[in-house]
């Protein structure tokens, strides 16, 4: 046993006398950090790096089989899923790894922002971090395109449609993005090159610089209310703190990072095993139009914004806001490079994080079951519930048929069943009079098309008669004034 140990040490010595890396590596691992920073809050950056490593390994393994052409990509994904031992699991790891990576990078950024770690002297670390965030999204998008299925096909169409809105050079940008005039072979191969060579190359270089600066400038100390950052004194104060109260990164803080990284990888493995690979959905055949394209989770919020922005402002917002947001993020350490780091003294920062997190979260959740998309099959798939037909006159029932046949159901639910684009009509008769119903149907308005040319007068009469029965309490609607006049008439008849 000790002989083996001797041999091992000898090999290590032989290697290190040539490489000379042991010294610097050990020094870097044991570099002193503020004791307060040995915390579970500081684990996200290293976790993102570990996920990146896993993505590289699984990505290379997928590239052994994946075929980057428009014709074969989808088949090679299905071959990975069904034709190869554990191919599905590697696809699942890479897919879930991507979602986790986006999430962890966002959490890391939030933590760094809340702890004021972007302030002097770590401005450049933050700036590189902004680029790392953008590249993470870039990897997620290009990866979604490489999963070349229906969603990917129409997803690139959305990307191209956004590009097309850039003034003057819009068409050039579309052609540059697609690598030609249409979505095809050149599109897939260029996204492959971006996803596999270009972005990962830059990403790795930036991660290297980012980590190098973390080592060089030291890990941010735990913020204290009232302890201000000043360019003139910060470095001495930091040096003094780690001299007085510093601990070596390994093992004092490193164990939390290592523990968390293991937990995250385990979580990715669990998701991969439980939920399986992400897609592919149907084949990327543009002639199959029975599809409801949807982007991957990291982009759902954009998908929601595209539906909810006022049409007039859409193009300016799409083109200007991202530029402004990125510029503000890049400039942040310059206009807020000094001063208070603690969140309790930075209410605006806290509020901003809350507003952004809640908005992005809400938009994402709403997009999972989007109310703005008409349900293309509801008119034939969701029947009118029997309770809306019971006791109705033949004319009203005829109206229910018109209601279904004219695809009103694609946008309008009845008691929750059907599209959500327009209001649920189960109690519409309590809101609108007969005249208003006629006007809404014939003239549309407020995101409803006008049906004037698609309905005959007889169909309109029947439809409005049916809508008039939808008074919410599921009994035939009666007009009390009519009843009064009817009973008056009856009494009169009795009298005379």
């Amino acid at each position: 046993m000790s002989g083996l140990k001797q041999k091992g040490i000898a090999i290590y010595r032989w290697l290190d006398s040539r490489l000379g890396l042991a010294g610097p590596v050990i020094e870097a691992a044991e570099h002193p950090i503020p004791k307060s920073s040995a915390s579970w809050w500081y684990v996200f950056g290293s976790a993102a790096t570990v996920i990146l490593m896993m993505q590289i390994v699984t990505g290379v393994l997928l590239a052994l089989v994946y075929t980057p052409t428009a014709r074969d990509a989808w088949n090679s994904l299905n071959f990975l899923n069904h034709g190869l031992t554990l191919g599905w699991f590697l696809r699942a790891l890479h897919g879930w790894g991507s979602d986790f990576m986006v999430a962890i990078v966002l959490i890391h950024m939030t933590q760094v922002f809340m702890f004021g770690a972007y302030k002097f002297p770590r401005e450049l670390t933050w700036i590189l971090g902004v680029f790392l965030l953008l590249m993470t999204f870039g990897m997620a998008f290009t990866g979604q395109v490489l999963r070349f299925d229906q969603d990917a096909y129409w997803g690139i169409g959305i990307g191209a449609s956004i590009m097309a809105r850039v003034p003057f050079v819009g068409s050039k940008l579309v052609h540059l993005l697609l690598g030609g005039p249409i979505i095809g072979a050149t599109t897939v191969s260029r996204f492959f090159a971006l996803h596999v060579f270009v972005i990962p190359g830059i990403l790795l270089a930036f991660v290297g610089l980012h980590v190098w600066m973390v080592l060089r400038l030291g890990i941010n100390e735990w913020p204290m209310p009232g302890r201000l950052v000043r360019r003139s004194t910060y470095i001495q104060e930091y040096e003094a703190e780690i001299h007085k109260d510093g601990v070596p990164f390994v093992p004092d803080a490193g164990w939390t990072d290592a523990m968390f990284a293991a937990a995250i990888i385990l979580a990715i493995m669990a998701c991969a095993a439980l939920f399986g690979p992400i897609g592919p959905t149907g084949p990327p055949d543009p002639t199959i139009i029975q599809t409801v394209p949807k982007p991957d989770v990291p982009f759902l919020w954009i998908y929601a914004l595209l539906a909810l922005l006022p049409p007039k402002l859409e193009t300016p917002i799409l083109l200007i806001v991202p530029v402004v947001v990125i510029c503000v993020m890049l400039a942040l350490p310059f206009f807020a490079g000094e001063g208070e780091k603690h969140w309790s003294r930075r209410p605006i920062a806290v509020l901003m994080v809350l507003v952004i997190a809640v908005s992005l979260g809400t938009l994402t959740v709403v997009s999972l079951n989007p109310p703005w998309s008409p349900e293309m099959t509801a008119w034939s798939a969701d029947p009118v519930q029997p309770r809306f037909l019971r006791g109705r006159t033949p004319l009203e029932r005829q109206g229910a048929i018109v209601f279904q046949e004219k695809q009103c159901r694609n946008c309008h639910a009845l008691a929750g069943l059907g599209g959500k684009r327009g209001p649920d009509l189960a109690s519409v008769a309590t809101r609108l009079t007969e005249d208003e119903l006629v006007r809404q149907v014939l003239q549309g308005g407020g995101n409803m098309p006008a049906y004037g040319s698609a309905l005959s007068p007889a169909q309109t009469t029947a439809l409005v008669a049916f809508l008039g029965t939808l008074n919410g309490n599921e009994r035939p609607a009666r007009d009390p004034s009519l009843e009064l006049t009817h009973s008056n008439a009856a009494q009169k008849q009795q009298k005379f």
């Binding site: 095809g184 703005w372 695809q407």
Partner: protein, 185 residues
Amino acid sequence: MEHPTTQPSQHSRRTFLFKLALLANGAVGAVLAVPILGYILGPVFKRGRSYEYWIPLGFLHQFPEGETRLAHFHNPDGSPADGQTRTLPCWVRHIKQNQFQVFAINCAHMGCPVHWFPQSKLFMCPCHGGVYYQDGARAAGPPPRGLFEYKYKIVGDRLMIRAGQLPTLATHASIAAPGSSPCQG
């Protein structure tokens, strides 16, 4: 490691040569950049119109008068590696006699595929709720204009369309929004 005994400034000839070599590399790099940029920006330099061709869409009898039907065409530019993506759909509306409208499948909002519903005479988009009337005019939802239309002509008993690029607001901006000209119904 031993330091060189002389300062760089002392051997001025080699300093000069080194600077010259740097300059030479810069010049070579600049020349090399020309073909590289030309290659990357190839799709940009090509004029959009030059992607467009007259493409046969089908025989006239495939499109009954008064109806709107899905049709397919093969994109002229392309390679075998395009696979299915080379066959593209579009909507053909035969108004009467020799009067047609050929609509792109792509919603003018974000390019998703629009569906035709003959019962309500509407095109609906599954993505963000764009709706168009039978003549392609915008009816509701976020689209900034009506459906994109391909130019068409009739050659013998065939319907031909002018196509070749993904229709977007930029690549199709030259064609007027449907419904804007008085002779369309």
